[in-house]
Amino acid sequence: MDAFLLQILNGLDKGGAYALIALGLTLVFGTLGVVNFAHGALFMLGAFVAVALQNLLTISKQVRDESVTFFEAYKETPYLEIWLGDTGLAIIDYVVPISIVLAIPVMLLIGFVMERGLIQYFYKRTHAEQILVTFGLAIVLQEIIKAWFGANPIPMAAPDAVSGSAAIGSALGLGDAVVYPWWRLLYLLFTLFIVGAVFAFLNLTTYGMVVRAGMADRETVGLLGINIQKRFTLVFGIAAVVAGLAGVMYTPILPPDYHMGMDFLVLSFVVVVVGGMGSLPGAVAAGFLLGILQSFASMSVVKDVLPGIDQIIIYLVAVVILLVRPRGLMGRKGVMEA
C-alpha cells in the first residue's frame, strides 16, 4: 500500500509536467490550428529563465575568507550577500519562486514575438509545413541556449524551507516509511492551480467565452465584429507562459539542460494524442494518467515480470488507444480528421 501511494505521487508530478505542456499544445492547436513542435522549447526556455536569474543573482567577487587565518584564503561571495547580508542570501535561496514571477512576463513576451513573428504566417500552410518550421525553430532555440549556457545540466535547488521531505505516511496513518519531497508536492499543487486557472479563464470570463466561441467557429465570431486574432495571440502567449512555468517549477526536480524540451515534447505529443487532439480536459487527464502509468511501470515488481516496460509503456498505451479509440480518450468527432 505504501509503495502504491508513492508510485501514484511519483507519477503525478511527472504527469503534471506532461499535462501542462500538453495543455499548452492543445490550446495552441485548438485556437490557431497550428501544430507547434517548438512548444517543448518553451518549456526549456522557462527553465532557463530560472537558470539565468540564478546566474544573475550569484554574480560574485573574491572576498578574503576571515575564518582561515594561517594563509590568505579567498572565497566567492555574491554581491547580493555583500550588499544585503542575510536578505541577499535569502533572495538567492528563493531563486526558483522568484523566477516564477519573472517568467510570466518573459514567456508572455516570447510567446507574442513567436506568434507575431513566425506562427501567424503559417495559419494557411499545411500541417506538415507547420511542423517543419516549428521543428526548425526548436532546433535554433535549443542551440542558442546551448551556446549560451553550455551543454551540461545546471543544478538548481528548491528553497531550503521546502527542500526536505513531507511525512505523508504518518499524516495519513500509513506508517512513517512514506515520505515525499515537499517540492514535488508543491509542483503537483502548482500544476493543479495552473490547470484550474486556465480552465477558469476559458470558462468563467467573457474573454474566455469569446475565445471558446472562436475555437468552435472562427468565422462567425469574426463576422460579429470581434477581433478574434488578437485574442488567439493572447492565448498563444498564455500557452507559452504555462509551458514556461512548468519548466521553471521543474528545475529543482530535473537539472535543466538544452535538450530537455525535446525530450518532454515527444512525450507530450503522445499525451495529446492519447487525450484526444483538441480536447483540453483530455490532455490534462491523459498527462496525469500516463505519468502514473509510467511510474507504476518502473516499479521493480513490474519490471521483473516485463523487463524494460518502463521505457515503452507510454508508447504502448498510445498505440493501443489509437487502435481501439482512434480519436483518443476524449477526442470529439470532426477535430483534426484529415
Binding site: 501544430v35 513566425l118 504566417y121 500552410r125 499545411t126 500541417h127 506538415a128 509545413e129 511542423i131 517543419l132 518550421v133 521543428f135 526548425g136 525553430l137 526548436a138 532546433i139 535554433v140 542551440e143 542558442i144 546551448k146 551556446a147 525535446m262 515527444v266 505529443f269 503522445v270 495529446v272 494524442v273 487532439m277 523487463p307 524494460g308 521505457q311 515503452i312 507510454i314 508508447y315 504502448l316 498510445a318 498505440v319 489509437l322 487502435l323 482512434p326 483534426m336 484529415a338
Partner: protein, 387 residues
C-alpha cells in the same frame, strides 16, 4: 509528365550514373573528394531518396524514419557476426528485417493521417530507440553498440575455409575490401540502382496513385480505391531504403549504435528532403549532399580558423566578425542548420529544386521580354514557364 517517353528516363539515368561515378573528380575542387565523405553522400542520398518516396509522393510526414536506418545497421552487423563478412548477405538481410519492421510500424501508424501519423511514427521510433537502449540489450548491446568480436561464428566464412585473423576482419565483396575507393564505388552503384528504382516508381501508375492520395485521399477512396494497401506498400519500400542505407553504414564501419535511431536522426532526413525539394527526383540527393558536406566543413571550423580567415581585416573588425560567426560553426553547426531549414520552409517550401525552377523561369521571362514586349504582355508563354 507521366507520358514522357522511356527514352528520357534512360537519358536521366545515363546522366545520373555519369555524375555519380565521376563524383571523385568534380568534388575535388570543393575539398570533398575523399572516400569517407563521398560514401556518406551516397548513403544518406539513398536514405533521403527513400524518405522522399513516402513524403514526396504521398505527403505522409514520417518523423521516425531513423528507426529503420538503425534496424538496418543492427541487422547488417548481425549478418557480419553470424554469417559472413561479405556485404551482400548483410544488405539483403538488413533490407528484409527493415521491411518486416516497416510492416509492423506502418500497419499501426497508417491508421491515422496528417499530424497523427507524424506523431505516431515519432512515438514508435522513440519506443524502438528506448528499447534498443534497454530491454533489447542482448540484441543491440545497449549503450556500447553492436560490434564485431573475436570468436563470432561467421558460419559461411569458415565453411569456405576462411582463417581466423589476428585483427578483426573487414567487410568485403567476394574478397574485395570495402574500404577506401572500392567502398565508395560500391555505395555509388547501390545509389544508382536505388535511384533508378525510385525513378520507376515516380513514373509508374503506382506512383500516380500515391500522388492522387496526396492531392485528395477522400476523392481517391470515393472512386473505389482502398488507399491503405498502397500507403503501406510505399511505407515499406521507403523503410527498406532506410534499411539499405543503414546496412551500408554498417558496411563502411561495422558497428551499430542506438543513437542512429534517435528522433534527431529522423529529423535530419526530413531536413535533407525538404532542403533539396520534396517530391522531386534529385532534390533529396542534393539536400543530403549539401547537409553532409556542410556538416563536414562547418563543424571543423573553430575560432582560430575564423581569425585567420578574417586576418585581412583590421583587428577590431576581425574580432567582431569572429564573435558573430563563431556560434554558427564548429559545435554550433546545428544552429546554422536549424536557421537554414527555417529559412527554406518559410521562403522556399519547394526547396532548392524550386529555387532552380524559379530562377530558370525568371531567366526565360527576361529573355522573352527582350525578344518582344508585345507577346510578353499577353502573358501566355511567360506564365506557363512558371508552372
Amino acid at each position: 509528365m507521366l507520358m514522357e517517353s522511356p527514352r528520357k528516363d534512360y537519358m536521366i539515368m545515363a546522366i545520373f550514373t555519369a555524375v555519380v561515378l565521376t563524383m571523385p573528380l568534380w568534388t575535388a575542387p570543393f575539398g570533398a573528394s575523399y572516400p569517407d565523405l563521398l560514401q556518406k553522400f551516397a548513403i544518406y542520398g539513398i536514405f533521403a531518396v527513400g524518405f522522399n518516396l513516402l513524403f514526396g509522393l504521398t505527403g505522409y510526414l514520417s518523423f521516425g524514419h531513423a528507426a529503420f536506418l538503425g534496424v538496418g545497421s543492427y541487422a547488417a552487423v548481425w549478418s557480419f557476426k553470424l554469417l559472413s563478412m561479405n556485404v551482400l548477405p548483410a544488405i539483403v538481410f538488413a533490407i528484409l528485417i527493415a521491411a518486416l519492421f516497416a510492416v509492423l510500424i506502418g500497419f499501426v501508424s497508417l491508421r491515422r493521417s496528417g499530424i497523427y501519423f507524424s506523431i505516431l511514427t515519432l512515438a514508435l521510433a522513440q519506443m524502438s530507440y528506448n528499447m534498443a537502449y534497454s530491454v533489447l540489450t542482448p540484441i543491440t548491446n545497449g549503450e556500447t553498440g553492436l560490434q564485431l568480436e573475436h570468436g563470432d561464428p561467421r558460419v559461411l566464412d569458415f565453411a569456405f575455409g576462411a582463417e581466423e585473423t589476428a585483427g578483426l576482419p573487414s567487410t568485403n565483396l567476394f574478397g574485395l575490401e570495402m574500404s577506401g575507393w572500392p567502398g565508395f564505388y560500391f555505395c555509388a552503384v547501390v545509389l544508382i540502382l536505388a535511384f533508378f528504382l525510385s525513378l520507376r516508381i515516380f513514373k509508374s501508375p503506382f506512383g500516380l496513385k500515391l500522388r492522387a492520395i496526396k492531392s485528395n485521399q477522400n476523392r481517391m477512396m470515393y472512386t473505389g480505391y482502398n488507399t491503405r494497401p498502397h500507403l503501406l506498400l510505399v511505407f515499406v519500400i521507403s523503410g527498406m531504403y532506410a534499411g539499405l542505407a543503414g546496412s551500408l553504414l554498417a558496411v563502411t564501419d561495422p558497428l551499430a549504435g542506438a543513437e542512429r535511431m534517435q528522433w534527431t536522426a529522423s529529423g535530419e532526413v526530413v531536413l535533407m528532403t525538404i532542403l533539396g525539394g520534396a517530391g522531386t527526383l534529385v532534390g533529396p540527393l542534393l539536400g543530403a549532399g549539401l547537409i553532409k558536406y556542410f556538416e563536414n566543413i562547418f563543424s571543423a571550423i573553430n575560432e582560430g580558423v575564423l581569425h585567420s580567415a578574417f586576418s585581412f581585416l583590421p583587428d577590431f573588425l576581425n574580432d567582431f566578425l569572429t564573435f558573430i560567426v563563431a556560434p554558427f560553426v564548429g559545435e554550433g553547426w546545428h544552429l546554422t542548420l536549424g536557421a537554414l531549414f527555417m529559412a527554406v520552409v518559410i521562403f522556399l517550401p519547394g526547396g532548392i529544386m524550386e529555387g532552380i525552377r524559379r530562377l530558370t523561369g525568371l531567366a526565360k521571362r527576361t529573355a522573352s521580354h527582350r525578344g518582344g514586349k508585345g507577346s510578353a504582355r499577353t502573358g501566355g508563354p511567360a506564365h506557363s514557364a512558371e508552372g
